[in-house]
Symmetry: C4
Subunit: 253 residues, 4 copies
Amino acid sequence: MEKILIKSYKKPRLNSPVLVGGLPGIGNIGKIAADYLVEKLKMQKMAEIFSQFLPPQVFVSEGGITYLVRNTIYYRKFPGKRDLIALVGDSQGTTQEGQYEMSFSVLDLLAQYKLDTVFTLGGYSIGKIVENPRILGAATDADMLKDMKDAGVVFPRGEPGGGIVGSAGVMLGLAKELFGIRGACLMGETSGYFADPKGAMEVLKILSKLLDIPIDMTDIEERTHQLEQITGKMQEDIQSKITGKPEDLGYFG
Amino acid sequence: MEKILIKSYKKPRLNSPVLVGGLPGIGNIGKIAADYLVEKLKMQKMAEIFSQFLPPQVFVSEGGITYLVRNTIYYRKFPGKRDLIALVGDSQGTTQEGQYEMSFSVLDLLAQYKLDTVFTLGGYSIGKIVENPRILGAATDADMLKDMKDAGVVFPRGEPGGGIVGSAGVMLGLAKELFGIRGACLMGETSGYFADPKGAMEVLKILSKLLDIPIDMTDIEERTHQLEQITGKMQEDIQSKITGKPEDLGYFG
Amino acid sequence: MEKILIKSYKKPRLNSPVLVGGLPGIGNIGKIAADYLVEKLKMQKMAEIFSQFLPPQVFVSEGGITYLVRNTIYYRKFPGKRDLIALVGDSQGTTQEGQYEMSFSVLDLLAQYKLDTVFTLGGYSIGKIVENPRILGAATDADMLKDMKDAGVVFPRGEPGGGIVGSAGVMLGLAKELFGIRGACLMGETSGYFADPKGAMEVLKILSKLLDIPIDMTDIEERTHQLEQITGKMQEDIQSKITGKPEDLGYFG
Amino acid sequence: MEKILIKSYKKPRLNSPVLVGGLPGIGNIGKIAADYLVEKLKMQKMAEIFSQFLPPQVFVSEGGITYLVRNTIYYRKFPGKRDLIALVGDSQGTTQEGQYEMSFSVLDLLAQYKLDTVFTLGGYSIGKIVENPRILGAATDADMLKDMKDAGVVFPRGEPGGGIVGSAGVMLGLAKELFGIRGACLMGETSGYFADPKGAMEVLKILSKLLDIPIDMTDIEERTHQLEQITGKMQEDIQSKITGKPEDLGYFG
């Protein structure tokens, strides 16, 4: 068996496409954002990737249908602009080798389409619930930094301290070093305690500006609102137990 | 050394065979059921599989003869029906890579025989002893669900929650995605605390209906009965220690 | 780099050679015995094996010279009898894959020399110091069992319970299944707490009978005697601390 | 993706070059020393090595630019002497396989340049702060030992007890056994508790003699001095807490 198997659905003609990669990770921010993008922009399936670098697992739907763990590549053409490609999936490569190999495979496939830029989306864990998550950034090339700053991305000194680990980092590194393709990572601040639609939404707002593509945020705003009610209620409950009266825990958690 | 070595014993002509795979796992249900099937249906050895994905180990028989860990494929022809193939063995692949590679190898070999359907057998751990284990199911294709329901398989919402992990899941996923072969998994409820012939027996009853092949259940019923006496005694002992009087623990364990 | 690199020193003409394999393991019995055999029989170096399946390590001699971890194959011709080959080394393969691959490589190399039989030497841990260690056995073929029994090897029911794990087991399994070469394992009882020359000596006595090759036991008897004085002293010390008077701990440890 | 990718910058003509390898390890002594050498001798970049044996990670600079983890090879010509090559990097191979493969790749590349000698630099952990770190040595060949002793390297009996593990050891072992290239390891004593410029400086002093190349030590002396002030202060603080008065802890930690 080949270590990575790519099942091709369509081979579109694409104009200097931009890849947006969002796989499971911290706060699941990358995955939530990229899945939302695929849904709202009605992107089309281009290829599926199966691999022994992914968990040996099928999911089972409510109706009882199995679904082998995979990554999927979608695309959508934007006439007059750079076209868009999205990489989404159920898991990153589970090993160091897998993260390199799977990132390389995607880049190697998309290099054939004259891939222009890679954006990887992820979370930046700060260990507490944050009301207004900032979006931290990093880029392979200096010429991308100004646009990112203009779009609201922040570059605080010394953050992220440990660099960017996993698929979101390796993909940028390989894009630059092996394919000569520039890229950037957008990291939404998140508590890291649960799947975080708010951080994902903030990442999408920035991405929307950078790509100059409008994205309807209604649904993700609604999910964010619902989650805030739940976590707000949880904080009140905990706070009452501690102090006897409800209070905001967000910056003290 | 090749990572997987297949030693072929026979190359039978088979009619749209159905594969039944049962390897060690939760409650050892898959292995117990598939081994029983091979024995009761007097199936014939078709191939043996040795691999570095299996434990580096030989077993030693009572007489002192060594036996290298392996998987084995058996077959039996059923004139006028689909023929039967069974995959049994001492271990699943011990790594993620191994589970993909070994499942792929078996499917790749059997695809030459026009494999029609794959059934994988397994256990579904519920953490307590259950008197009447249900058989949960999942299938690659909707057309299989009705037959399974008719045979008594249940599809409770949200179960199995984590999907199907390991060989029983990967084999279905690869069958569908890479070979275009449909399949289903039958999971017998089990405490998960010991090798469970009862869950295996219930899986076999369903399988017998689905395959339309009668299987003599006398021996496995006897083993189930013996085990129930032992575990019943153990429960009484524990119960007496806790409450001072014997009582059923099965649903409260 | 090739995963296993064999550096050949000599390509002798050998007559139906017998391989004796002894690598580090339980009580280091296999390694002690095989190293002793090589030394006492003045065997000659035939090949060295370097591999990424061995630890990434050099040893440093008293004088400061480095020595890369390796396995080494020695041989000695015994005119009129089967010739002898020994496999010794600093480590077994450190992974499951490594144990399969390295065992396979050695067998694959020696199959060219018409390898006749494989003996692997190892320890059988019983968790206490034993005065008269038994030698347990297992063989790939029934025809070897009688000679082994005659030489004093025992085959107690249900032992070794978990089979034979590691190089000593895999080598026999692969010899039989992939090369059609018969083999046996000799396991010396040992506490498993320290490198045990006594168990190794008992293994060598049996091996000497099986191979019909005399081995001078003077040095290993001396080492055994020295170690028994040390461990005997230790037991007395422990015993005095517990009971106030010296006593034998061997069968109660 | 190839497991190791070498990006070549220059292919200089070199005269019997000597390789100095210093990668992260105990006390980071090898890395500090080799990085310092590259900087002070204004060595030129020859090749970069990317690999799935390195962590799946990009670092992010203060300005927000990403940097994929790598190893780098530098060189400098010394007319009339042996030329110099340095191997530096962000990480050793993270696995046993990786340490073998990456060491082999570097040697395989440099063998084309008629590599003459390999020096690997590392730390030797002694678990306490040491005022005058000794430099321990080991070499592949006896002819190197005299020069090393003359330069001040010590070879205490039984040290390093466990041999040399990791890249610094494997590289010497492979150099000798597979390429016929001699080499030596210089190990600076260090507490092992923090990155230790003092140990690195002492290693460099020895190396400077062995290579007959002067190295300006001003900056590393300054760093050493700064660190000693910090650790000295820490020791006083701890000592005051314990005894009520400041005292030297260095030989009692």
